[in-house]
Subunit: 672 residues, 2 copies
């Protein structure tokens, strides 16, 4: 009987679960869940549209806990409202292979929409989700059929708002007028170091108004009715809205409430007992009375809501069968039926044309060829559209008054862009990408990592991928970036050599459902590699023999491995060596990360044992020893670049036929 349980008791159920689970694990963050408990009651029991039985229901509201250290808040809410998250999981909080890791992780816990913890990024993910909702609604809704119509709610703490990414994401939410995005700010005045006034004195309301947001509050965050009203008001503003909830961290704890001591450690048995007494919660740890469960239970209401939507969608499907089918395909993440043919056609055309272009241009050609059959493609650049070449034929710019546009001007906001791209991917319905210069992958780096950790189909385009960038100089020249991206587990990194490899890179990134891809492209033109056969399957394996040694493998004295713009140099060196009577194999390795996943026999067929290897890449050498091993050499760039025309730099840094020939000769002699 929900009516017999007060909102205070509902909130205290969260408090008890949070403090007890943290105590049991002797690890975690009780302060935030205890402080946000009433806010959570207001949102989850009065507003959030969700169905615990189907956490993937497309029309659900999205809920993001950007201050993810308060994970026990989310686990308590999921458990109490009826998700498939048993009490035993809460008891196993933060233990190996539990469904309750230290911070919320998507795909680990049902109902968790995104992995959070690295502050500010959940907020930016939420901006991406709200944008995805707005784009999908504009594309699929029809008069009388608002099949896409849901809110995105995000809890943010002081930490999220101190982070620079909050500026980038909030600014874009304002530009895009994301009126279904509601952020609730846990304004408790405390961060880990203590009272925030000494390091965070912003007038946050004023700041968000400067972005074109509506600001509601400050509201007493421990007053469920007031929060309920504030959320209702936020929905009605027609703008992205920030609800400022004044809360007390660790509320309920007699001796730790309002102090940073409540933030990140267990309260201790004595203080937990005192808190139980203070809040009037008499139940033992991990015991929730049936009436409290009943008050929280969202299964019936959720099922009814989903059934209602399903009925609407059924009618929509009758009236608009094509749109309904497309919507379902898009939300499943399946590619269109003609995708395979489109890739094949594009490859044949590229192979025929043999164009010598910069691979960034090859990327644009790939987009031009593939986008027409891929309405789910959406992406753009962090204010380098004409340099990244991300705008494909027919792509209109996305604007609040033309939300059908699929090319996004992200502005100079690399980190925000990447986290928004992640949010779009998490929402579903789109294959998103973002672009900047490779060097500025640094700015976005933790969002790239999060894409990899979350195994999202998020695509990152990084052009101007080496000293080949030229005159802009060392600040803009990538040296360590290809190597460092390859270190991120589950991140695929492509550095293709020509139009055909670029097409395969794009196709592989789009077809990859369980992880992100970084596509690295040159600023400068790269010669099309003439070869007997364009074997797309071989390219798709990450490395392949692009040019066998004259006379076959048995005649080979060495293997040259190269990527991207250095593949033509490897080919030229091969020819020069042959003229001197030395046969070598050339391996193009556009994706080391993909090659690493191949079976042992394929790897051995490309890099046979016993032949010395020389790797060439215009970047740091460290990563290449993994492939070159004992008897080889690496030609690379182990210092920062310089400002000069690209051709001058490639000579200055030893990327010449003569140098490659000399190094290969040394390696062969060293072995002999």
């Amino acid at each position: 009987m929900p009516s017999t349980v007060s909102t205070r008791t509902m909130a205290n159920a969260i408090r008890a679960l949070a403090m007890d689970a943290v105590q049991k694990a002797n690890s975690g963050h009780p302060g935030m869940p205890m402080g946000m408990a009433e806010v959570a009651v207001a949102l989850w029991s009065r507003h959030l549209r969700h169905n615990p039985a189907d956490p993937r229901w497309p029309a659900r509201d999205r809920f993001v806990l950007s201050n993810g250290h308060g994970s026990m808040l989310q686990y308590a809410l999921l458990h109490l409202s009826g998700y498939d998250l048993a009490m035993q999981e809460l008891i196993n909080f933060r233990q190996l292979h539990s469904k309750t890791p230290g911070h919320p992780e998507v795909a680990v816990t049902p109902g968790v929409e995104t992995t959070t913890g690295p502050l500010g990024q959940g907020f930016a993910n939420a901006v991406g989700m709200a944008l995805a909702e707005k784009m999908l609604a504009a594309e699929f809704n029809r008069p009388g059929f608002s099949v896409v119509d849901h809110h995105t709610y995000v809890f943010v703490g002081d930490g999220c708002l101190m982070e620079g990414i909050s500026h980038e994401a909030a600014s874009l939410a304002g530009v895009w007028q994301l009126d279904k995005l509601i952020a609730i700010y846990d304004d408790n005045g405390i961060s880990i170091d203590g009272k925030v006034e000494h390091w965070f004195a912003d007038d946050t309301a004023r700041r968000f108004e400067s972005y074109g947001w509506a600001v509601i509050g400050p509201v007493d965050g421990h007053d469920v009715e007031a929060m309920d009203g504030a959320i209702a008001a936020a929905k009605a503003t027609g703008k992205p809205a920030l609800v400022v909830a004044r809360t007390v961290i660790g509320q309920g704890s007699p001796n730790r409430a309002g102090s940073e001591k409540a933030h990140g450690e267990a309260l201790g048995e004595a203080e937990i007992a005192a808190t139980r007494a203070a809040i009037g919660w008499e139940h033992p740890p991990f015991v929730i009375p049936a009436n409290v469960y009943a008050a929280w239970d969202a299964r019936a209401s959720g099922a009814a809501r989903q059934a209602q939507w399903q009925q609407l969608f059924g009618q929509y499907a009758e009236r608009y069968p094509h749109e309904a089918g497309e919507f379902e395909r898009r939300m499943r993440g399946d590619l269109p039926a003609r995708w395979g043919d489109a890739v094949l056609d594009a490859l044949v055309a590229a192979a025929d044309k043999e164009e010598t272009v910069a691979t960034r241009k090859a990327s644009q050609l790939a987009l031009d060829a593939l986008a027409p059959c891929l309405p789910e493609l959406v992406g753009g650049s962090a204010d380098l559209t004409g340099s990244n070449l991300t705008k494909w034929k027919g792509a209109a710019p996305l604007r609040p008054d033309d939300i059908a546009g699929r090319h996004i001007n992200f502005g100079v906001r690399e980190f925000g862009m990447a986290a928004i791209v992640n949010g779009i991917a998490l929402h579903g319905g789109f294959i998103p990408f973002g672009a900047t210069f490779l060097t500025f992958a640094d700015y976005a780096r933790n969002a790239l990592r999060m894409a990899a950790l979350m195994r999202q189909r998020a695509i990152f385009v990084f052009t101007h991928d080496s000293i080949g960038l030229g005159e802009d100089g060392p600040t803009h020249q990538s040296v360590e970036h290809a190597a460092s991206l390859r270190l991120i587990p589950n991140m695929d990194v492509w550095r293709p050599a020509d139009t055909c490899e670029t097409l395969v890179a794009w196709a592989s990134a789009i077809e990859r459902r369980n992880g992100p891809s970084s596509l690295l492209f040159s600023r400068q033109a790269v010669r099309f590699i003439e070869r007997e056969e364009i074997d797309a399957d071989a390219i798709a394996r990450g490395a392949y023999v692009i040019s066998e040694a004259a006379g076959g493998l048995k005649q080979a004295s060495a293997v040259i491995i190269a990527t991207g713009s250095e593949v033509p140099l490897a080919m030229d060196a091969q020819a020069a060596l042959l003229a001197a009577g030395i046969a070598v194999r050339v391996v193009s390795m556009p994706a080391t990360t993909v090659f690493d996943r191949q079976d042992v026999s394929y790897k051995a067929s490309v890099l046979p044992e016993g032949l010395p290897r020389v790797a060439i890449e215009a970047g740091v050498t460290d990563g290449w020893w993994k492939y070159v091993r004992g008897t080889g050499a690496v030609i690379g760039v182990d210092r920062f670049g310089e400002s000069a025309p690209a051709g001058v730099l490639f000579r200055e840094f030893g990327f010449t036929i003569d140098n490659v020939v000399a190094v290969v000769n040394q390696v062969i002699r060293g072995k002999a």
Copy 2:
């Protein structure tokens, strides 16, 4: 005769040099210098206190071009006002080894205070410089002797203000009340993709007011008198001030002004001719009339100002000889006389105590021991003070009303922190550091890169350096970060194993004048390594034999290399192997980057040829093949971590004596 030359003509000299140099290079950005020319006239001829003959004069105003793509503005200003930057350098704009690289680079061009280009960072550097000025003034000024009293001016563009780091740095400048920081916003409404209104609709004035800044303007940026007045007004606000200068990008160019086409490419000969006509500049490229030079010449006024200051400083030195000597030492960057003894004493004490503590605790102990003799030490944490353990004994928190505090609460602002640390280092007088969890080095990454590119003594403390972080889970567990930091050229990366190695790491970072250091510390306790001798010099070489094979090198069957928290495991495995009759050498390699700089014979003495090697590090394995080569193995973590107690994770990921023994045996057999 300055009076005979109008400010308009002075500005046009900049326009001409900028458009001609970009045209000659056929590369660069004419739009910003042409748009900011009058602003530059107002600042450089009316306000900037500098002496072209001595670009290192400590009391000079600092000038930062955060929108560094407009480098020709700065080069023109430096050339015209009399710095050692000949016209031939401007003619060689963006050519190899010129003093005029694509973006301004400190230590390449006299008068350039920081390397800019990666947007937003110059602004944050300026915040660091202004903080350094304020701290030095509070420390060294005496009644009647304002020996430290200068402004920091920074030009920022739309791009800088879109970047998240502008939020972080501006917020801190507000908190610290940096009243001598003046930012001039080139508000031209254009970024690379076009009119910014479509992706940057912030009310920037309102935003900066929310940080506690004064905002002056908008002012007509082409009206020198108005800008002069605005800068004067900004100085008088008693707050950090943002002057909003409304400008036209590419001003003067009849067909490109006000358009993104003016931004990033040469205007072309025809448009340059048209511009010359439009602005009334009749001189050939790279020719400046004598009267224009005279109007710009700041040598006499600069010399007079510096002489005046020198006189004041002379009197100060008479009255306060100790303070004057300290000030000069600090600005030279020399360490105190008793530094060497302090390090030695601390090492002896640590060796005696043999404490088993987390290396983050060892770091705090090192700070406790070294800080008392190092008044130039200033640093803190991005809201993880109690976790990073950055606060040393006796360090007070830096606050606007206690600017003598040397521990900084940076708030949750990793990128801003790192760029501010760079700015403090660039200013001089301090050895700054900043701290966060190692995983969040990602957030700061490009500032770490910039520290390395600029060869600054900036120190970055990264704790919780592996899966040893435990329950917080994969979002917070570093896996790829040690390896990826090592890829940044000129970045030293230390991952010490115990209290003694930690001390050497800190001492090395502090003594390193030509580059930054990243210090990686464990969350969990690490056993003190008992050994016959603590050889600080050996540790300082980056790798050394911490435990020779029983019976000496000739008896060794393999070498185990380990870092940080894995060194005790290597020692235990060594003992277990010996019990089975197998002798191995253990090498501790706290700093691969430092070891790489050692001579060939030292390297060979540590890692002798012919013995198989096994590397152990709780991180990605890729980088270790460089040291292990053909016949070895690497024990590491090539996937994301998990949320669980640290001990559980180390077992789960194979960091056990049994596994190390098994791998060493495999390697030995493989070789046999």
